[in-house]
Subunit: 497 residues, 2 copies
């Protein structure tokens, strides 16, 4: 029997640099790897969406739509894949449906193939319109389960959610583990359960590597029937990033599974990013492996956020109280998965509770979460806290899909964008400004100046290295000496680094 | 059914710092973790042997026997474990049997419980005496399979070797993967094969993490019946080291296996070494993950050795030729596993072959390897090369156990040691000098001065950090500014690092 082929999604161009280097990688540091990525045999290449759009215009003076067209041109044989936050698109609020349709349409037009659609609360209503839009333009709509652990989250619940996504027309299901919480046994059980319940639906598994355990989870997911798994080329892997692509290949050798990836190509991709990564060192997290989240349930990024909030209030010593408060706030809110934006909303409220008394002051965002303006969570919200939110904000709780409250806005968004100096009058620019109204105007104004990389140049790196290790006099070395020290003779070889 | 208990061997005190920081960790940086390690519920604590003995006297002015007694005292409830290179003990030549007996006897007397006995060539005759000596003193004799990949190494071959070790009285079998080459499928097959062939013999699995894939191998080994696996606490893990202990615990949660480890204790051990590790940063390798060995079969350390040999000869550009030569030399030598010392012997000969013509000049060590003076390999040696070795060295090939050629040497070794200034007249000192005659005399002379750590102090680290991040004027920050740059306003927060 020939081995079963396991598809691989390469993350180097999107989530890997988002997770490892604060989404700072410039297109110019990616283009030279594209030919090899395109020929390596991946199922798809994740290269757009998530935080890359925001980062491109905010930090890099790059037009994200241009980046997408570049990828399309350089990787003609690949499925390009993006991460799309459902009704939020790539921004931070809900958009009216026509904006969602337009965004999907334009993304497809510019080259996108696979849309991984998710919602931070796992509320299917927040994913429905985006998925319908993807299907309408004939592209691949992938429905997403955000994996979390809580008293109300069960394997059966995830299987049920998969069914809702399939009912909405999902062509495949992504099991997305952004906090590296997915342990091998639930990975197996969820994938197995979906396959047994709904037949041979395609399942993609996305895990971060922070806890050091998730390559095993990918193995068990594959054994349970997963079709595609996400990895990042080794030189862009590990820590808060993802498992290394080459390790996945090696993991499956000799088993009844194979990736069919071209190792020669992978090594060239690896060598490319091995040179690029040091240029972004200042943006890198120092985390190598961290299993704390299994006990605290608090993702690393959320923890450091709360710590700096406390410090800013001169209360850095109260982090333990805040960490104890988080599970209570999370439970009151109906057990939302702790990812952007719910992690910030819950974390900030926990800080407020500790500093000012429980729910004495609510953030506007937390009140909105309690009142249903982000959608529904799996758990019941605490009715007393809902009442407090209503009293503090004078807003009524809602039960409908949040976007249903929004009036048509496309025409107004178009007017706003067209009025901006430097806007090029395209629908792409309308969408850019719609999603990032605080950043896009300045970006439009400076776009003509072209991309401004925040990476260090190779010359800078070389100069720094020399400064750090500079010897007053160069030697041609290696030169060997016998050195007697503390009575012991040592053979010493000296050479320039 | 209650889950099956998987034993864990903690490596932080031996192989972890040997692999991550060139074996430089001083006892003073370990003692404060011992109480927690002792109470965490490990199957054993590897804490001695390997390169630690050499390193202690060569770099740290520490008496290794004293270190062992310290561990014994601080971890009264733990099985202490060591790595023992069979007839080589901890040195670099074969010793006559009585020296082997004495070493094992003294190690047991000073507190050792579990002796993991291995031979670089997997020649059982080189392990037999040490294992018999361990059994004689009533301690745990663990026979070891060094895992490698070659045309002559098969799953069946490893199973057969396990049988030979059991025949020699091994109380357990270690499957030792020093190059992180053990992929999940062979891990499963070998462990399963041993269990099916010999019944319920205890199997310990030791993997490095260099290739990023071996936590999966541990999972498959456990599924196949492995009883104990080796890991290192997360703050002393990964890279050329080992898989993180806490990740192993998380990996097994919810499965039919459990480690039974006390997570509170583990976190205290982690926090301890999290503080210690930066003190040894200058000794750390930069390797995070490296899967090259799967294609090249050349361990990272061996590769960098060959590269520096080539550079010293002004032939740094010929590394590709040398890498192509290695498999040929390895095959000629009968496919020895490439570990210390065989990796150096094969690698240096490959360099010589490229620089001077194939086997025009043989190193003494390579000739000895070809003539049987290190023992037998699994493969056939190339008869023509054996003949060349004989011609160049005027030595005859042997087929007997190398140590059988050695005359009694204990009395002479005793005399030598007793004559050294600073020797304390103990059999321990005789053994120290016997194993490291080039280092022990100077160590004895300076021993009274006490340990000399090569770690940076916390004050030094703090000073370096301050120097690196020094601002000309200190600010108390964080201070927030609105900064307008290239037409865009940014909210900027400034604070001292």
């Amino acid at each position: 029997m020939s081995p079963r082929k396991i598809g691989v999604t390469e993350l180097a161009l999107r989530d890997a640099h988002q997770s490892l280097m604060a989404t700072r990688m410039a297109t110019e540091d990616m283009v030279d790897a594209c030919a090899d990525i395109d020929a390596a045999g991946y199922w798809s290449v994740e290269c757009w969406g998530g935080a890359t759009f925001d980062s491109a215009i905010r930090f890099l003076n790059e037009d994200p739509w241009e980046r997408l067209r570049t990828f399309r041109e350089l990787m003609p044989n690949s499925r390009l894949q993006m991460l799309l936050r459902g009704q939020n698109l790539l921004g931070y609020r809900h958009y009216e449906d026509m904006v969602v349709d337009k965004f999907v349409e334009k993304s497809a037009e510019n080259g996108m193939d696979v849309f991984r659609v998710f919602d931070a609360l796992n509320d299917p209503r927040n994913m429905a319109r985006a998925m319908a839009a993807v299907k309408k333009v004939g592209k691949h709509a992938q429905g997403t389960i955000c994996y979390t652990v809580s008293p109300v989250h069960t394997v059966d619940g995830y299987i049920k959610l998969a069914g809702q996504l399939l009912d909405m027309g999902a062509e495949s299901i992504a099991l997305k583990d952004m906090a590296a919480l997915l342990q091998p046994q639930p990975a197996y059980d969820i994938v197995r359960g979906i396959k047994e319940t709904y037949g041979d639906v395609q399942i993609n598994v996305h895990c971060h590597s922070t806890t050091g355990v998730t390559l095993v989870s990918l193995m068990k997911a594959i054994e349970a029937g997963a079709d595609v798994v996400d990895t990042a080329i080794s030189s862009m892997s590990l820590g808060p990033g993802h498992n290394p692509t080459e390790s996945l290949v090696a993991m499956l050798e000799g088993t009844e599974y194979t990736t069919g990836l071209d190792m020669e190509r992978l090594l060239r991709v690896r060598d490319h990013f091995r040179k690029v990564r040091p240029k972004y060192k200042e943006f890198e997290s120092k985390t190598l492996v961290d299993t704390d989240i299994f006990s605290s349930q608090i993702p690393g990024g959320m923890l450091s956020n709360m710590e700096s909030q406390l410090k800013a209030q001169g209360a850095g010593d109260r982090i333990d109280e805040v960490m104890a408060e988080v599970p209570l706030v999370k439970a009151d809110a109906g057990q939302p998965p702790l990812v952007t934006p719910s992690s910030q909303i819950v974390g900030t409220q926990a800080v407020f509770n500790v500093l000012m008394g429980r729910y004495k002051v609510m953030t506007g965002e937390f009140a909105d979460l309690m009142l249903g303006y982000y959608g529904e969570c799996l758990g019941e919200r605490n009715a007393e806290v809902v009442e407090l939110a209503r009293a503090q904000t004078k807003k009524e709780p809602i039960t409908e899909r949040p976007a249903d409250l929004l009036p048509p806005e496309w025409d107004e968004l178009t007017k706003q964008a067209d009025a901006l100096p430097g806007s090029n009058g395209t629908e792409e620019d309308v969408l850019t400004n719609a999603m990032f109204p605080g950043v896009a105007p300045a970006f439009f104004a400076t776009r003509a100046e072209g991309p401004k990389s925040v990476a260090k140049s190779e010359a800078q790196l070389a100069a720094e290295k020399q400064a750090a290790g500079s010897a007053p006099q160069g030697i041609a070395g290696p030169i060997k000496y016998n050195v007697t020290f503390a009575g012991r003779q040592h053979s010493v070889s000296v050479e320039p680094v």
